[in-house]
């Protein structure tokens, strides 16, 4: 119910006093209202929940977190057995399942 999905703003239009974006989530695009993220612009990623963007993804913070994780992963590499299966888990969840609520 509280799922919000990150998507990229492809274009923005004004309609009836609201800014509405066309947002790309993987292979699909959906409209999202930008009333709560007035600073968001084309090219930004936003978290979308029930048709409304609730935050603009902070790209710098995301990069910093991920670099820290990466660093730790490299340090760990020598100590742990490598996973037998696919390196990525990205295929287990269809993009659709997250987009609903």
């Amino acid at each position: 119910m509280c799922l919000a999905v990150p998507g990229k703003i492809l274009e923005v239009e004004e309609r009836e006093g609201s800014r509405i974006a066309r947002v790309q989530f993987g292979g699909i695009t959906r409209p999202a209202y930008l009333d709560f993220v007035p600073e968001a612009a084309v090219g930004d990623f936003v978290m979308v929940h029930v048709g409304f963007a609730i935050s603009r993804v902070n790209a710098e913070e995301a990069a910093r977190t991920y670099e820290l994780l990466e660093e730790m992963g490299l340090l760990e590499e020598s100590e742990i057995p490598s996973p037998e299966s696919d390196e990525s888990m990205s295929d287990v969840r269809s993009p659709k399942s997250g987009a609903k609520t």
């Binding site: 119910m1 509280c2 709560f36 048709g51």
Partner: protein, 383 residues
């Protein structure tokens, strides 16, 4: 997808789990509040990846599960009226009321529609001025801004046939209740990342100080949750009790201010009954009096009946983290997603449904379901 795939990297998941294993020296009980997080933990088998001193219990953060039985009955009453179109998020349709559910009302000819966004409910009201359109507004703080916007818009347009049956719930009062209970076992919380995207985490700072409990705002992907758990373990091992933020790519300290402003204009805080938990003071939102024309409780004369849950359902204890779904004698026997006794088996984010879907009940038991090969299905195979 960007900001999703990279947080499902199996190698890093192993590294984080190894770090947690190295850090933890004593048993600790951690609770994730949000049903979406419960779902990720089960789906990717994170509970099984963690070292044994760490026990995960699951919180009441599924709005579908905690919407009071009385409120579900009111929605069913409304949907049964010939002049009403009831519009709802899909998950609510199969939630059992005391005698029926919305799905059965729909099958019997009731006008019940499922939408993805409250904006679509407004569209239905504009297109059908001869019908009373009622939106069943459930949700936590995450969903409140969108629902507030729908009512705000309806008033601005002077839409006379649009109202909302509001059952909004708030997370911090529920955490306060859990922590105040003499039976509480939880030593650290993963706070819900999207609730905090809207509200920030000032309120969680107060909770962590008042109860000396570590709280980490966490995201929804496997690496988010593992990192949040690692941060909680680090706090517990160091004897710290602070509110920290793991989900920095979406959450900032003060939250989304434009969203909070609109919520403050449309809603006011009220006492709210939670299914399976009971009345929690100051734990809900209702519409302010100036929106009475769009408040279904005021527009319609709705009976407020005393109703009982099925006695064999232990969802009350499950929702408070006192018991696991597998402790319930009805689980996977008389209670299944196809024939649920309680709401946590209905919603895909309910703890019971998550356990059922990811086969947590087959471990060590041969009588219930499915060969082992299926156990891997749908789970991120990080082991």
């Amino acid at each position: 997808m960007r900001y999703i795939d990279e947080y499902r990297d199996a190698r890093l998941a192993h590294a984080l789990a190894a770090e947690i294993t190295r850090r933890v020296t004593r048993p600790c009980v951690l609770m994730e509040i949000c049903g979406g997080q419960t779902h990720t933990l089960m789906r990717y088998g994170i509970d099984e990846l963690l070292p044994s001193p760490i026990e995960l219990v699951h919180g009441p953060g599924c709005p579908v599960c905690v919407t009071a039985l009385e409120t579900v009955d009111k929605a069913i009453q409304l949907a049964s009226r010939p002049d009403v179109t009831l519009v709802s998020y899909g998950d609510m349709l199969r939630v059992p009321g005391s005698r029926s559910d919305l799905f059965r009302v729909k099958a019997g000819g009731g006008d019940v529609r499922v939408v993805y966004s409250p904006v679509e409910a407004l569209k239905v009201a504009r297109a059908r001025p001869e019908r009373q359109v009622v939106f069943f507004a459930v949700g936590f703080e995450t969903t409140a801004p969108a629902n507030a916007m729908a009512v705000w818009q309806a008033r601005r347009e002077g839409l006379k046939n649009f109202s909302m049956l509001v059952s909004h719930v708030l997370v911090p009062p529920a955490i306060r209740l859990l922590l105040s209970s003499p039976t509480n076992r939880v030593q650290g919380f993963i706070a819900p990342g999207h609730v905090c995207t809207v509200m920030g985490y000032r309120e969680y700072e107060v909770l962590s100080r008042d109860f000396r409990v570590p709280i980490v705002v966490g995201g929804f992907e496997p690496l988010d949750l593992l990192e949040a758990i690692s941060m909680l373990v680090a706090q517990l091992e160091a004897g710290r009790a602070e509110a920290e933020n793991q989900y920095v790519r979406s959450v900032c300290y003060e939250g989304n201010l434009p969203a909070q402003r609109l919520m403050g204009q449309v809603f006011e805080v009220c006492d709210r009954k939670w299914r399976g938990v009971g009345l929690i003071p100051q734990s809900g939102f209702r519409l302010k009096p100036e929106f009475a024309a769009h408040d279904a409780e005021k527009v319609f004369d709705l009976a407020d009946a005393e109703v009982d849950e099925p006695p064999e359902c232990i969802s009350a204890q499950v929702l408070q983290g006192l018991k696991k779904p597998v402790d319930c004698p009805a689980f996977a026997r008389t209670c299944t997603p196809e024939n649920p006794l309680g709401a946590p088996m209905v919603s895909s984010e309910g703890a019971c449904a998550a356990y059922y879907q990811y086969r947590r009940h087959v471990t060590g038991k041969s009588d219930v379901r499915s060969p082992k090969s299926e156990v891997k299905d749908g789970r991120l195979d990080v082991r």
